[in-house]
Amino acid sequence: MKNKLSKLEKSRRSFIKKTSTIASGLLAVPLSIEVMANVYGNKKLKLSLIGCGGRGSGAAVQAITADENVELVAMADAFRDKIDNSLKGIQEHFDGVKKISVKEKNKFIGFNAYKKAIDMADVVILTTPPGFRPYHFEYAVNNNKHVFMEKPLATDPVGIRKVLEMAKIAKQKKLNVVVGLQRHYQKKYIDLHNKIVKGEIGKIRSGQVYWNDGGVWVKKRKPNQSELEYQMRNWYYFNWLCGDHILEQHIHNIDVANWFIGDYPISAQGMGGRQVRKGIDHGEIFDHHFVEFTYANGAVVSSQCRHQKGCMKRVDEVFQGTKGSIEIRKGIINDLDGNLKYKYSYSLENEPNPYQVEHDKLFASIRNGGVISDAENGAKSTLTAILGRMATYSGKKLTMEDALNSGLQLVPSEMTWNSTPPTLPDKNGKYKIPIPGKTKF
């Protein structure tokens, strides 16, 4: 496989060289289909959307906006109504732009619908609840598709192993993979990260990262809904699907800590619980986590996330270095005496939309034969947040290795509408909640 790839690679490179000097219509050397697969020029790019919620629909709009010659050809979701609403929303957004052509037979419904939709595409958008992401990413990469996928990339370490493995293969195949950790595509973060790289605050020794807010949407159980359908609709509150909010939401801030420090933590310990948000529709996740992540160089980052109404709100990242400190929301760098050294000049009007930039870069890279490989960092930051969750659920200090080798698998490999969900309510409709000191992880 490796040899074959490298051969392909050589011919692809020579192809790129040639096409840069020879007009694409005058190719002298015939090329195999596989080689062509990665080289697009101005060819129409077919797009499939896997996971048709609000975010997936938004990503589809951004993809269609990003490239002149892209067409949405297939959609897949567990639910028919999600596909219909999504398509309607996308069509309404464009109001007549001819880049949407999803035939009735190319709307695929159910747990395995993703395969057929991915088969039809050059580029796929993977935006289902994160539990399924490893399987979808695996299939997309095995079938040579370019990928945009939302964070997080898995909900369990078994899924992470799969994503890491496929990330490598995607890189070898020169597939572009963009992950929706959009701070990496946000002007302000890029600017401030450059300052860190230049040593403006020295070496980062500590940090605090926050996602403290009131929580997100809740879908109530409806009569005649199967348990599986209920969990799929109200997926935020079930770990196999969502991974808890320390992962689903707070990953953004934890990922910034990894990015700015330039490494991933070696261990974590923390505390968390379910104190306020514990209603019948709130499944099994905690409403707060507080984790201490330790890095190999001794840096320590405190990560806090809270979904409780009426409390202090803060979504931010702050770091202290050997020469100064940085506060990202304010966009400021101070020296060790607290004097302002730098301020990012922010302008609401001129700030590019990072969600759009993600797709602009993805499609430009596909067109230019470049390779964006976000999946490895996406997987490692996902694992960092999972490690944090395992630490708060267990109440134990755990290493990254512990997490990766735990064998913890929340998402079944095969699912159909007849499958029993991995978690079930008791007779009062309540789910088993992790208990620190008792829960393994």
Binding site: G54, R55, S57, G58, A59, A60, V61, S86, G89, I90, E92, H93, Q182, W211, N212, D213, G214, G215, V216, W217, V218, Q249, K309, G310, M312, K313, R314, V315, D316, R329, Y346, L348, E349, N353, P354, Y355
Partner: protein, 318 residues
């Protein structure tokens, strides 16, 4: 006809007994209160002359407008109160049904705002800080919810009502005069806000006792934004209201912590825009939240003459 007339006169009279008084509205089920200032009806010159420093084309020509009396909230609606609407946890404290209420509607029937995924105060503060980033639809629904909760009819002001209340009898650039140097005592603009909104009621009020009419956050009105509308008005216009026919643009007033002082003038008008949802990553974009408008908020009014039930509903569904 005659009997109808006499009934309405009697009705008006009974209201007038306490009409001229300001009052404090309890937000039932909480400790929160919202003070309302009575704004006597009257006639004023709306807009600004070309000679005014900072004048924009949409502010002219100056024209005579007559406005009916109303009460206006003394402050911009704070997160303390707005979040009660978002969470809907105090709905069972709704005022009991009574014929004495201006309005009796089931609070359950009022649409609920979605919970935003991103933190909408952007770290600028919550307790006694003005609520921001709501769409005009959300602002209108907030008024409906507040009305259902309290039994009094609340709505957004029209542009004319807003400017009339802001001016409170003045014809100057600002309600405190023409000297831009004095603005620091009355409002938060780009030049003194330190890149953040501020707690309400920190600066001096306008002549009628309304706080933060100039700056802090811009305030939603009911009107469609039509830049040339003043040119179309002839003679005395009574209670003008440009009924919105499309979502954008609608008018916000008062300027904000992000604006230059000139944008905080009494006559300044600003159109809303689709761009205010630029970074909403979802499709359809939120009906309830503007991801890119951390400068827009709400101030509500209560007209002295409560409109008919049909009319009331219209004000909450434009």
């Amino acid at each position: 006809m005659r009997s109808l007339k006499s009934i309405s006169i009697a009705f008006l009279f009974s209201l007038n007994i306490y009409a001229l008084q300001d009052y404090s509205q309890n937000i039932y089920g909480t400790q929160e209160k919202l003070n309302f200032i009575f704004i006597e009806g009257g006639t004023f010159l709306m807009g600004s002359p070309k000679s005014e420093k900072g004048h924009f084309g949409d502010e002219g020509p100056l024209h005579q407008v007559k406005v009916s009396p109303f009460w206006m909230s003394e402050i911009e609606i704070t997160w303390n109160i707005y979040n009660l609407f978002v969470s809907r946890e105090i709905d069972n404290s709704q005022v009991n049904y009574s014929k004495k209420n201006e309005i009796n509607i089931e609070i359950d029937a009022v649409s609920s705002a979605t919970t935003p995924y991103v933190e909408m105060s952007f770290g600028m503060g919550v307790e006694n800080f003005p609520a921001i980033c709501m769409t005009q639809y959300a602002a209108v629904k907030f008024c409906e919810w507040l009305s259902a909760l309290t039994g009094k009819f609340y709505r957004l002001p029209t542009e004319a009502e807003w400017e009339y209340a802001c001016r409170s009898g003045t014809n100057s650039l600002y309600s405190f005069g023409d000297n831009i140097e004095d603005l620091n005592q009355y409002g938060w603009s780009k030049s003194n806000s330190n890149e953040s909104y501020h707690k309400v009621k920190q600066k001096k009020p306008n002549p009628r006792g309304l706080y933060d009419m100039h700056g802090n956050v811009s305030e939603w009105t009911l009107d469609q934004y039509i830049p040339t509308i003043y040119k179309m008005r002839k003679g005395l216009t009574v209670n003008p209201f440009e009924i919105p026919k499309k979502i954008y643009p609608k008018t916000v007033r008062g300027g904000s912590w992000m604006d230059n002082p000139s944008r905080l003038r009494s006559a300044s008008r600003r159109p809303s825009s689709k761009k205010w949802k630029k970074r909403d990553p979802q499709i359809p974009k939120s009906l309830w939240w503007h991801t890119d408008a951390p400068f827009v908020g709400i101030r509500v009014i209560r007209p002295l003459n409560t409109p008919s039930i049909d009319q009331q509903k219209k004000y909450w569904n434009y």
